[in-house]
Symmetry: D2
């Protein structure tokens, strides 16, 4: 899905700032590895405190990373002063989330003024081998930001 042209020339700064303001990503140890218009890759190291009963990373944590990846990939193509929310997503778990680190790659399949559809894949790195462990298809909605992204000028006293 190549060659999306961002509407917001500051897309990189805005998308990065949005990701950085997702405290959940910091708590889960997830960071941006690569960012381009309509595309992103996130990275996460293994952490025992994020596992399910077999010692694999919990499917919900994998999904949290895939969801943020889809959201930020979609966000890079939205106009300035947009906000973004997830409408829905579907995750297929293909293999146990077993590895030293994980990569999450999302790309926009269909950008839209209101709705954007993204696809994402999660990969586990175990020693030097990469395994596809999960896929996501997600729908995101663009909202007009109710509060401005930047501080407003002081209201002037009337008269």
């Amino acid at each position: 899905m190549p060659g999306f042209a961002p509407k917001n020339p500051d897309y990189r700064a805005v998308a990065t700032a949005t990701f950085d303001s997702q405290q959940a990503m910091r708590t889960l140890g997830i960071s941006i590895e690569r960012l381009a218009p309509g595309e992103i890759e996130l990275a996460m190291p293994y952490r025992a405190d994020l596992t399910q009963q077999n010692g694999f990373i919990h499917a919900g944590i994998i999904t949290a990373a895939l969801d943020s990846a889809c959201g930020i990939a979609a966000f890079t193509l939205m106009p300035a002063d947009s906000d973004i929310l997830t409408v829905e997503f579907k995750t297929n778990l293909l293999a146990p989330a077993k590895g030293q680190r994980f990569a999450f790659r999302a790309s926009v399949v269909k950008p839209g003024r209101t709705l954007t559809v993204c696809e994402a894949q999660a990969f586990a790195w175990h020693d030097d081998a990469e395994t596809l462990i999960a896929t996501m298809t997600g729908t995101l909605i663009a909202l007009t930001r109710r509060e401005p992204a930047k501080p407003q000028p002081e209201p002037r006293a009337a008269g």
Copy 2:
């Protein structure tokens, strides 16, 4: 979907132990509120460190709770010495995850020897009002546990 009969008389102990061994649930502050054959309710307080860019709980965290709820609900109906993995799920986000605490209710729609389908709902409690914020439909697969859940007694010498 009333009246499922558990195949494992110890379903409550085994399901609780499985939930307790999901370190991700402890990390996210999620606990079992209520458990019955084919049904569960989980609870989670609001935590600022699990939010997305607007201060709502991250959709992935909501999904992690819904996924564990589906998994444990399905697990209560499986035979002893089963293990369970999530095959896939789909989450619709209906309203912002905004509240002091959250409840996650899952129930089995169709139990099966191999595959079990569950539905779950997430609710936000804000002051004393409950709002439906998300739904999940999930498919779980039963596996035969490769290693015993508890240490086995030493085999006795015959005679």
Copy 3:
């Protein structure tokens, strides 16, 4: 999900007309059995020419009925002069679509100005027993109708 108040007093006529203008429904032999604000039931007899390789109704045909059910259920709650399109849906097939006739019940889970989320169930009737065979969760989008639903009266000559 009781007690939705339709915004369009003519909801019944408009929803029925929309369903009737879906030629695919006529081709597949699907009809409205019951309609209420935010709710619908469709009916379909078994037809050998709509089966898959085992003689069960094809999952895609079941899905077509569930999708129309969700769409019309959502449509009953939309303002006059709306049009509706499906954004996405997910179907779980729980049991073979084997029976003399089939019922499809959809209800709105979350109505919205732009997006509406519905859930639906498909049932097979075999002799006098009803079996749940499939579920759908779907997202629908309301559009403002670009062309009027009915032919406009000829403009009269002024004077």
Copy 4:
């Protein structure tokens, strides 16, 4: 997802026979355009009797084609004497199904002994332009065929 090796040397004949025995495909005018291990392309001409209220092909019909495409793609990788059923799928409708003809391409993402996950895309051809109109992710389950696909040869008398 290249280079799947079919377990059944007769995969082409068996997959084609399975598709041909789906009467729904014949009724909807859908045919196989191309078949390879783990991959398929189906074709369908526009038909007014398969449309929704705006004259586009009904989302359920698009889904029926995508589902059969996923099923047959998965089936090419299964052992002889398997049968296949759809567990679940999710469809995103990206653009109106408007065109003279439609193509449906499915490929296996993760083959498995029990479960296989496929992805598929639907394209509309309008004049000479191809538009991506829908995507599907689907999960299929392999079953052991209860009755043999072909009459078995008579067992020979030993000696």
